[in-house]
């Protein structure tokens, strides 16, 4: 049976970790969204150099482990004379890694809007930017929202790597509670519950959005 006194005695510690997990995920979501939009725009731009740079970023980042990116920032930068905290290094690594996936989701969304619409927009006298802003993007957003939601769920789960570099998140405090209480099993069950409190409602919500947006076409 689970020992609930573990939870009640360490509730403050759990909540602190929970708060930091949420904070790192939200910060990384914002940064990775901004970076992702920039890279998506680079990838669909007609300029060859930008396109190549965007593609290189996406393909490289997507194919290496997140924890390696984290280690480069956490262990690699100090050898160049730059120190980051675990939380900072973790949030930066999460943002860079997730940006590659978000860029792909946004690009796919924009490309899924029929080409004829761009041509129609342009020939009715709108500029490229105006067509993007009023015709293409509003339609693309619908397609992009569910994958973005999925990326946020992944972000929450992936933020657990902060624990590896003392990033003060749920995993980190789980570890510190288990060293203080000499209990492992129950401590991590409660850590799991805290993650599920974030991820399960998000998954259900993304599922709901997917169904709704699919119906409205």
């Amino acid at each position: 049976m689970l020992d609930f006194t573990i939870l009640t005695n360490n509730l403050d510690t759990y909540l602190q970790g929970f708060g930091n997990t949420l904070k790192a995920s939200l910060l990384a979501l914002i940064f990775s969204f901004i970076l992702g939009v920039i890279i998506a725009v680079m990838r669909i731009s007609p300029m060859k150099v930008l396109k190549a740079a965007g593609t290189a970023f996406v393909e490289f980042v997507r194919n290496i482990p997140l924890i390696l990116i984290l280690f480069i920032f956490y262990y690699g930068l100090p050898s160049l004379g730059m120190e980051l905290s675990g939380f900072q290094a973790g949030t930066i690594a999460l943002s860079i890694y997730t940006a590659a996936f978000i860029a792909e989701a946004i690009r796919a969304g924009i490309l899924s809007v029929d080409k004829g619409q761009m041509e129609a927009g342009r020939s009715s006298g709108l500029t490229y930017i105006q067509t993007m802003r009023y015709i293409i993007l509003p339609q693309a957003i619908k397609i992009v929202i569910p994958p973005l939601g999925n990326q946020f769920i992944n972000l929450v789960k992936n933020s657990s790597i902060l624990g590896v570099v003392a990033g003060l998140d749920l995993m980190y405090f789980g570890d510190s509670i288990s060293s203080a209480t000499y209990v492992v099993f129950d401590v991590y069950i409660f850590v799991a519950v805290f993650y599920l409190i974030l991820t399960i409602p998000l998954s259900l919500f993304v599922g709901y959005l997917e169904r709704r947006l699919a119906v409205s076409g």
Partner: protein
């Protein structure tokens, strides 16, 4: 930074050994995950009362947990209840638990992508449910599942690096050992293993893309194609 010292033949050999472990562990994990994931996916697809529900809940819980937590669990928590696993076994077990849940979803959407009319047609031509599954549904679904499974394997290869926290001698762990010898090795070594991961995974992603293209042209406008790029940020 000391590129020349970092890339000594001894270090390179040691890193390649780590890459070998990464590939081996990932390969063993994907085989077992595919078997278990198929069973779970089919159980969920078959809509057996109660059982399908239980499978669904388990799959959703596991999919929504960080893999890192599951690795900690199999290595540090299971001994508390009398199950003691070696580092390698703990890593493989954790990967199988997590990836089975992921693959079961790929199997299920593969099955769902086959139009229901085909089951009805097969049943009314006199085949049993099992025969319909075996000869009509599964062969088609399997072909559609291959590209997303290759993508999932890429995720798995990346995720194997998380086992660095329990000192599995895989690529990232071996890189950290080399880094321990000299602080000037850190950046060169990380760059090198990033390239190693990239080369392996990028080649695999090209395979996945090619398979997806082939699948698409095979069935031009009929039915759905499962996106190979389900490969999410998923550890992950």
């Amino acid at each position: 930074m000391d590129f020349i010292g970092a890339y000594s033949s001894g270090n390179l050999l040691f890193l390649l050994k780590g890459l070998g472990t990464t590939l081996l562990v990932a390969f063993i994990a994907i085989i077992f995950s595919f078997l278990i994931g198929s069973i779970l996916g089919i159980l969920r697809y078959a809509k057996i009362p109660v059982l399908s529900r239980i499978v669904a809940v388990c799959v959703e819980v596991i999919r929504n947990l960080p893999l890192l937590l599951i690795i900690f669990f199999t290595f540090f928590a299971l001994p508390e209840v009398g199950i003691k696993l070696s580092v390698t076994m703990a890593a493989i077990t954790a990967l199988i638990i997590f990836e089975s849940a992921m693959l079961s979803e790929i199997v299920r959407s593969g099955l769902n992508s086959i139009e229901k009319g085909q089951i009805e047609a097969a049943r009314s031509s006199g085949l049993t449910y099992m025969q319909t599954m075996q000869h009509i549904i599964l062969p088609q679904a399997l072909r559609r599942m291959v590209p997303p499974i290759v993508s999932q394997f890429i995720s798995l290869l990346k995720d194997t690096s998380l086992a660095v926290v329990i000192s599995l001698p895989e690529l990232l762990h071996n890189a950290q050992i080399v880094n321990g010898k000299n602080v000037n090795y850190v950046i060169p070594i990380f760059l090198l293993i990033a390239v190693m991961y990239f080369l392996v995974n990028y080649s695999l992603s090209l395979v996945a893309r090619r398979l997806e293209m082939k699948e698409r042209t095979n069935r031009k406008s009929t039915g759905k194609v499962l996106p190979a790029k389900q490969q999410t940020g998923e550890m992950m």
